[in-house]
Amino acid sequence: MAGRIRQYTIGLALFCMVIGFASSAFAVPPGELLQMPDESDPIGQCCFSFNQTVAVTEPAKPFAVVVTWGVQGFLSFNTGGSLVGLIVNGGPCTLYGPASIPEVQINTSRSFQWVIFPSDGLRAGNNTFTLCGGGRFGSSGMLLGPYTLAARLSN
């Protein structure tokens, strides 16, 4: 009887291990995708954090990361327009590609693709990418519509 219970326990443990590994293998790594369904109004001169972050887990030898930001309509009140960039791993707000939102753009959806190379400060393990920016010259604001932020390894 005791032997049968032991066999049952071992079998159950193995089953749980398989289920655990399977779900972790198929799950989308948390934090690579962000959906911002509401409007937001970051106000200030460039550059400050918009407090929205995505993350990727890098292997021991980091790959380049492609971050895409797509925003559905916005209104930029800034004279000279606004800039948008990324804070990588808590560093300074940096422009890793195009960054410009022209002055007074209403309901014009657009997207940005940014490329971050390992030499930009990527490291093995968790890496964070936080949206940042602000007015190019002044400290007036912008109104952002719903947006998505996505990070993926280039491997």
């Binding site: 030898k61 790959f63 380049a64 492609v66 004279t79 000279g80 327009g81 422009l95 890793y96 590609g97 195009p98 960054a99 410009s100 939102i101 022209p102 002055e103 657009r110 997207s111 940005f112 693709q113 940014w114 490329v115 190379f117 190019r136 010259f137 280039s154 491997n155």
Partner: protein, 160 residues
């Protein structure tokens, strides 16, 4: 005689190590050729179509797979401009949308735009092995029109 054998063995081992060292940077360089980031402004003038001097590369398997090329840029343009791709040194072809609206601002403001182009095996421009995708285009109406390409990124990836 034994010393000579040892020397041969040492030479063989060191050759293997050097080959490994040589191949390692090649592998990582291939990865970077699929992605390009430009962080300066470049001015171009003229009618379509000429090269914008930016290119990425992707290696195709024997059985070709579709590729996605994405170009995201800041720009200023005095009039309407076309942008497209020259694949493997071929003609400048539109693999999707390709129009940039005029945008001028004396104060330094710029506009931005992102294009996604899909290149299918049936397009007849891809080949097994290395493929090059060079940005091309030019003004739609006048040879005097100018475009300034600002910070931009060019990326190619497979459709999987």
């Amino acid at each position: 005689m034994k010393t000579f054998s040892n020397m041969k063995l040492w030479l063989l081992c060191s050759s293997v190590v050097w080959m490994g060292l040589l191949l390692t940077p090649t592998a990582s360089a291939v990865q970077n050729k699929e992605l390009l980031r430009v962080q300066h402004n470049t001015s171009f003038q003229g009618l379509c179509c000429f090269s914008f001097q930016e290119a990425v590369q992707m290696s195709e398997p024997t059985t070709l797979v579709p590729l996605i090329v994405t170009w995201s840029t800041d720009y200023q343009a005095t009039d309407f401009f076309f942008v497209a791709l020259s694949v493997n040194g071929g003609p400048c072809i539109f693999f999707g949308s390709g129009g940039l609206q005029p945008f001028e601002d004396a104060g330094g403001d710029a506009d931005s735009h992102t294009f996604q182009w899909l290149i299918l095996p049936g397009d007849g421009v891809l080949r097994p092995g290395k493929n090059t995708f060079a940005l091309c285009g030019g003004a739609a109406f006048s040879a005097n029109d100018t475009i300034v390409l600002g910070f931009n990124t060019l990326a190619v990836r497979t459709s999987k």
